[in-house]
């Protein structure tokens, strides 16, 4: 009974993600990434800049957060919306175990549909430079974990977690993150790039250190997970609030 995660909750969460339409979307995203990488390889050849831009702009900025968003809201939002999460909560199971089990499934999706495809895309475009793909895969995994934690909080805070998550990604991470350099201090994607930099051996993130990025990511993961557990401990079945 001291297990950190519950095999039953993991099994249910896995079925929940793949038993719905969003399971298909999860597969489409990496297919697009790999398809585009193949196209670049064929049309442009083994070009380091094209590869780096594709891994950054498509892999880290688009595919990773979207996979995290779809997977995390997929294991939490529908059950909270329709109240069926009560069947998990009306059990003598610590709420932390329920949240961590669901996050394990979401993180598994990030590995399978974002980090691994990023690695493959890197190898496809730059077979001669495997460290580039590996670096972005690590960045994708770490950023993906932070995104999962953030979207888990959104799922327990609002019924519109997907919409709020999309707006956050579009406005903060993509739009403002692209215009204002100061956003880098508070941008999960930029942290992911900073963590990828030392692995790649390239100056991918000249203005943000990997140490800061790693600490910031860890703080977000722990803080957001704790907040999710805390909210779920006070779950209201009536949903009148």
């Amino acid at each position: 009974m001291t297990a950190v995660v519950s095999g039953t909750v993991i099994r249910l969460a896995r079925k929940s993600v793949f038993g719905r339409r969003r399971g298909v979307l999860l597969v489409v995203l990496p297919v697009v990434l790999l398809g585009l990488s193949l196209l670049i390889r064929v049309l442009v050849g083994s070009d380091p800049d094209a590869a780096r831009h594709t891994l950054q702009a498509l892999g880290l900025v688009v595919v990773t957060p979207l996979v995290a968003l779809l997977a995390t809201t997929g294991v939490l939002s529908p059950e909270i919306d329709d109240g069926s999460i009560a069947y998990l909560l009306a059990k003598p199971v610590p709420r932390s175990r329920i949240v961590l089990s669901k996050l394990v499934v979401a993180l598994g999706c990030v590995v399978a549909f974002a980090a691994l495809p990023t690695l493959l895309a890197g190898l496809l475009m730059r077979a001669s430079e495997p460290r580039l793909g590996l670096a972005y895969a690590v960045g994708s995994l770490v950023a993906g974990a932070a995104y999962c934690a953030v979207f888990a909080v959104l799922s327990v805070l609002t019924r519109h977690a997907v919409v709020v998550g999309l707006i956050y990604l579009l406005v903060w991470e993509s739009l403002l993150g692209g215009i204002l350099d100061g956003v880098r201090w508070l941008s999960i994607t930029r942290w992911g790039t900073a963590i990828a930099a030392p692995v790649s051996g390239l100056p991918l993130s000249p203005t943000l250190g990997a140490t800061y990025a790693a600490i910031a990511t860890a703080v977000v993961i722990v803080g957001a997970t704790w907040l999710t557990v805390w909210r779920l401990r006070g779950f209201n079945l009536t949903g009148d609030e």
Binding site: Y87, L89, F235
Partner: protein, 304 residues
């Protein structure tokens, strides 16, 4: 033997008071929580199942607080009103998952026993998405019973059940109550409640309106003054004749025609009215109860 205790519990949402200073003790046996829709029954069940914090007061199970205390679920089985289930699972997978989450030694056997108890063995391998309303209700019951809880809380459990399933569930609840379990179910239908529960708690507009044996509640509900609107061939003479009968408390001639009448003893009045009309040679054109809605019955209970 488990006892649920609410002590001066109120719950409000902003300016809206959902439950207003309710104190009640739910002990072993079957208790019916009766009240019109929107009276606060679901809020009370949420409070009793640890899914809502009281704004003031305390809710305890055998002395343990329910809010933010997941260990109480070893003793509680909950059947929520909402129909949503894990539609992508089969009935058996769902009940087995519930058994596993309770940490039972043999989840498969416990699930099989619970499904048999609610007569869901045959369709257990079909996806829940294909189930009818009654089947969903029964699979919810099985999930709540799988760990043989000391306390069973059911929110409007008879909704959507056909008469045969209803009778079966009533029997099941009676058996569980007779076994010494604490069973509480909510309903807005008096007839439904009195068929199963000896003890009835009535809530109206968030207040605890009445509590007691079903016979006492039934008397409270039927012995209240009844109001009727009558139209006849001679309203004024009928009014005079009716006032001679002790079952009639008052009659008023309405400006738009007809009579407004209040009867204190419904049984006696229903016999007296046709007799008096016949004796006076008065033809009754209309007899309409003007306050028969459940809400008015409950409103009377609150006032008394």
């Amino acid at each position: 033997m488990s006892v649920l205790r609410l002590d001066h519990v109120s719950r409000w949402y902003g300016n809206v008071v959902a439950v207003n200073d309710v104190s009640m003790t739910i002990g072993p046996g079957v208790t019916g929580l009766l009240g019109p829709n929107g009276a606060g029954k679901s809020t009370l069940i949420a409070l009793m199942s640890g899914f809502l914090a009281p704004s003031t007061g305390t809710v305890t199970l055998d002395g343990d607080p329910l809010w933010r205390n997941e260990s109480v679920y070893r003793r509680i089985g909950l059947v929520p009103e909402r129909e949503a289930l894990f539609d992508y699972l089969t009935g058996r997978e769902f009940v087995v998952a519930n058994a596993e989450l309770h940490g039972l030694a043999d989840p498969g056997a416990a699930a099989a026993a619970a499904l048999a108890l609610v007569e869901m063995t045959e369709p257990q391998d079909r996806a829940i998405s294909t189930y009818s309303k009654g089947m969903r209700q029964r699979v919810k019951m099985a999930s709540a019973l799988v760990h043989e809880p000391a306390v069973l809380l059911l929110d409007e459990p008879f909704n959507g059940m056909d008469p045969r399933q209803r009778i079966h569930l009533m029997e099941l609840l009676r058996t569980m109550g007779a076994d010494g379990r604490t069973v509480l179910f909510s309903s807005h239908i008096l007839e439904e409640v009195e068929q199963v529960a000896r003890q009835i708690e009535v809530v109206v507009a968030g207040r605890h309106a009445a509590s007691g044996d079903f016979g006492a509640i039934r008397r409270l509900m039927t012995d209240r003054p009844n109001r009727f609107v009558l139209r006849s061939s001679d309203d004024r003479r009928l009014a005079g004749a009716l006032l001679t009968d002790p079952s009639v408390r008052g009659v008023r001639l309405r400006a738009e025609g007809g009579l407004e009448l209040e009867a204190s003893d419904f049984g006696r009045f229903s016999m007296a009215l046709p007799r008096l009309a016949r004796e006076g040679g008065i033809r009754l054109l209309e007899v309409t109860p003007s306050d028969e809605s459940l809400e008015s019955v409950f409103a009377y209970l609150v006032a008394s």
